[in-house]
Structure formats: C-alpha cells, structure tokens
Symmetry: C2
Subunit: 299 residues, 2 copies
C-alpha cells in the first residue's frame, strides 16, 4: 500500500436551510478515502463502534478502500451534528459524541505501515503522532488539524509539525495558529514551523499552495448548487494526496496538478449530502471537471 | 480619445488600524484614471469644487490624463470618510459630503464624446445615463454601481444595464441585485439583465468574469502589506479597461489578460494610501507583476 489515511469514521447529522440527513456516513478519513480512491488504492486506519453499519464498510471496500486498519470496538461510533446557514460559511456544531474515538489508540496494521504517502486527518495531535510513529517508510506526510487543537494542544501540534512534509489549513485555522491576519503572511509563518508545504483552503474562494519554491493559487470550481459542504476539506486532501500517490511524485508541476484534482474532488463532495456525490463519481468525470477548471483558470 | 471615465473626484479621510490620512486624493474616476493611464491615454469627466488643489489637477495631467472634462464649480469638492477594521473587509463610512457632486449635470466635451471605451464609474444611474447619452460612438461601455443605487434607484439601474456591455460588481452588490446567494448563479442572473460581461470582484479572494461564452476565474495578487483598500475596485476597472483600450479588442483572450492587468493594478493601489502607490508605478512594474501573477496561477 502506498497511500494511507488515519482519521475518523463517523455518523453525521447535517441540517441545511434546504434539507437534512441523520446517521449519514461522515468522518474525515471516510471523505478522504472516497476522494482518494478515484486515483489510487488507499488504506484506512480508524475506529468504529459496533453500531456502524456493515453495509457502509462493504461499500468502502467496494470502492477500493483497504479497511484492514479499521478497528471495531464495543461501544458507539463517533457522531457529529451540524447546521449550516444559507451562506454556507457559518456552521453551528450541534453536538459531538466522541464514542469509541475518545479513547482510541491507533494501530497501523503491518500491511499498511509501509505506506509512502500518509495523511493524518483531523484528530488530537498526540493521536496523530502515535499513528505516524507506526509508519515505517513515510516519504510524504500531510497533516490536517482544527481550531480546538490549536487552542488546547498547541505544543503537541507544533512538535508534530516538525515531522510532516505538509499541512492543510483553512483560513481561520491559519490565522489562529500564527496570529497573522494576512493569509499569505500566515502561510509563510506556518512554513517556519516545519512543513515544507502549506495548502491554505478558503472554501468557495479556492485554495493556495506555498513552499519555499512554489506559490500556486487556484479559484474554487464554480459550484452552482451546494447541498452540503461537510467533508469538502477532507475530499480536497483526498484528491490532492490520491493524485500525488498515483503520480509517485511531489515536484512542483505535480503538486500544482494535485491542487486542481483536490479542488475538483471537493466540488463533487459539496454537491451531495455525506459521500453521496463523491462516491458516485468515477475518474472520467473527475478528468472532465479537471479540464473544465483548467479552462476557467487559464488565459 | 478612445478611453473615457465619468465619475467622482474626491478628497478622502481614511483611517486604518495602523495609520490615517485626511484630504487625500480619492474618487472613483481618479483611481480609474491613474490605473488606466499606465496603459492608454484616458479622458476624465467629473466635477470639483473651488477648494480642489490645483497641484492634484496638474499631477493628473502629468500622468497623461486628459482633464478637459473636469468641471470646476463654486462650492466644495465631494468628500468621503471611512474607517477600516483590521480584517480590511469591514469598512465603516464615517461621512459622505456630496458638495458640488450633488447637483452635478455631467457634460462630456466634444473632444472626449467620441470615445470608444467608456467606464461609468459609481454614480446615480440617472447621472450615468445622462453621461452615456452624450457619448457619440461607444463600442464597449462598462458600468459600476453600489448598494445604495440598488436600493433607491433600481429601476434607473435596470434601464441603464440594457445599454451597457459590461458591469463590475462586488460580491455583496451581486447578491443584492439578484437576490441570489451563490455568486456564480448571481453573475449569470446579471447577464440576463442586459450586460454581455459581468466582472465579479471578491477583494482579497480575486475576481471572475462571466459571459455567455467565457468563464474566467482569477485569484487576487498575494499582497502581503495592505495599507489602504480604498479605490481597489476602480483601480481594477482602470487596469482592465485601460488594457482593453490599448489592445483595441474585446475578444475572450484579451478580456482574460485584462483581468490579470486589473488584478495587478488593484494590488498596487492597496499598497499605499490614496493614489500614492498607484500613481508611482510605471508600466514595467505592471508587467513584472503581471508575469508574477501569471506564474502563480499557471500550472
């Protein structure tokens, strides 16, 4: 296995001004895995409770996800509930029930431990570090985080950042982590914390990639009908890392193309609830939208 | 003359979290004219009071702006005061003293009336229409507006939109004009109101151009040190129209390049108070930043 994601599998309750879903498949690692599976085989390390639907596990396997690292534990699966306002940018967390995720001690099985591309999806930095410890041959490690960990586990996070190649952050997280309001300056400050690459996601406003050598900025794909933004960031990361793993390369040109694949993959995600649209898309549709985005951004 | 702008000349009071200026040169037509002058000779139609500094008029002329259409009227020049918050996106208007602009009846002198490229900078739609009436050979007319006119003069604005080729709007104005939250759908709705081209500006998040045939999206130039965002939109329009006028062309490829020139020109504007940085830049610096933006957005 050359691509691995470590993170949550969840059951989500999502409310939007137009519709709602309950007990829908969610979780950072789940979105990442479906997104990456269009590009490359992907291994998934996570934890579920005994209430997790067997059908969802079968569906992941059918999509080409190696679920050998998904541990089933007596108890309840992680559940998250959120409500979006009509502008999609305002999200209210209704509840977070950690369930079996609360005391999870990640175990990377031997068949997945030699992965070269590793994505540490959002989790406590100490948990992410424990998972990374078990990876024997990581060549390109990216990490995601959230405002909670920047607040309550910043030292752990800073220690972890010295061990990774890249980080994906949204605008709010970048400002919080660096105390810098200007996003360009914030991204450059993050580079000083360890990662060689910073991918800064701005939702409907696109994303940019910064390293010592590269600065690449990309608008979002122009989605006209947003249904549910949940999982967009993880889908971006999945498309991004999935393409890198398939290209077996992280040079500047490949990273830029990966930004387009990430953007396109996220655009599918937000067009449906849960993984509905994301899981339904095949590589040909990804390529068609890649070409469209390329047209829109090339002069 | 082939490029003409009709709009305000003003004296601004600007406060930011870091510094302030009073009685600084401002006004939509002024920013546009300095921005466009790097690309093409530009004629300016507007009104000033007897308190307007002669030195500023001389400086405009020296920059290549034809001020033959600037009428001097007994009374006070238009004055505007604003204060920005640290995020730059929140702007509080401190005061608006219309002065001689309040009862201004625009007169386009014969030497400027045959301009082929015309920009109707922000003013009451009825005033914009009166100015346009006097243009004898307009080939490409763009209009700017603001939330105030959408609120209190929507019928006049809608009538004007049927007479123009393009409109520049910011995100808030586009949503207000169309009642559509999604910016892509909002832009497409504006196309139905008459203009063939909609340029939707999103400040630090870039801009996009939509027509029946073209969809082009561009991130902003990554400015690290914003000093004063006043006039950024008019500077964008000036760079955009100035380039079009110099190219004597409005095909898709030229419009896309014009988007880059508008973006680059606006980036200079926000790096200084008033027109300080904008007026100090020459075409070579514009080209250098054009190439840089091109690098940042090309994969």
């Amino acid at each position: 296995m050359s691509l691995l994601v470590i993170g949550t599998l969840a059951l989500d309750k999502v409310e939007t001004p137009y519709a709602a879903r309950d007990e829908a498949l969610g979780g950072s690692a789940t979105f990442f895995a479906y997104a990456a599976a269009n590009f490359h085989q992907v291994g998934l390390v996570g934890v579920i409770g005994t209430d997790f639907p067997a059908s969802e596990m079968a569906r992941l396997e059918a999509a080409g996800v190696n679920t050998g690292g998904v541990e089933s534990v007596e108890g309840k699966t992680f559940r998250w509930g959120g409500r979006y306002e009509a502008d999609w940018n305002t999200r209210h967390t209704l509840f977070t029930d950690l369930g079996v995720f609360e005391h999870w001690d990640p175990k990377v099985p031997s068949g997945l431990a030699d992965s070269r591309f590793v994505f540490l999806a959002n989790a406590a930095p100490a948990v992410q570090a424990k998972a990374l410890d078990q990876c024997t041959s990581p060549e390109f490690v990216m990490v995601d985080t959230m405002n909670l960990w920047i607040e309550i586990a910043k030292d752990d996070l800073l220690a972890l950042l010295k061990r990774v190649d890249g980080i994906v952050l949204n605008d709010e997280e970048a400002r919080m982590l660096t105390g810098e309001n200007n996003l360009i300056r914030a991204a450059k400050k993050v580079l000083e914390l360890g990662p060689k690459y910073v991918v800064l996601k701005k939702g409907e406003h696109g994303a940019f990639l910064v390293s010592e050598e590269v600065h690449f900025s990309l608008p979002a794909y122009p989605v006209e009908n947003v249904v549910d933004p949940t999982g967009a960031g993880d889908s971006f990361a999945g498309g991004f890392m999935g393409y890198l793993a398939s290209a077996r390369n992280t040079d500047a040109a490949t990273l830029k193309r990966a930004m387009l694949y990430g953007t396109v993959t996220a655009s599918f995600c937000v067009e449906g609830f849960s993984v509905e649209e994301l899981a339904a898309r095949h590589r040909g549709q990804v390529e068609a939208r890649f070409n469209e985005l390329s047209m829109i951004t090339t002069f």
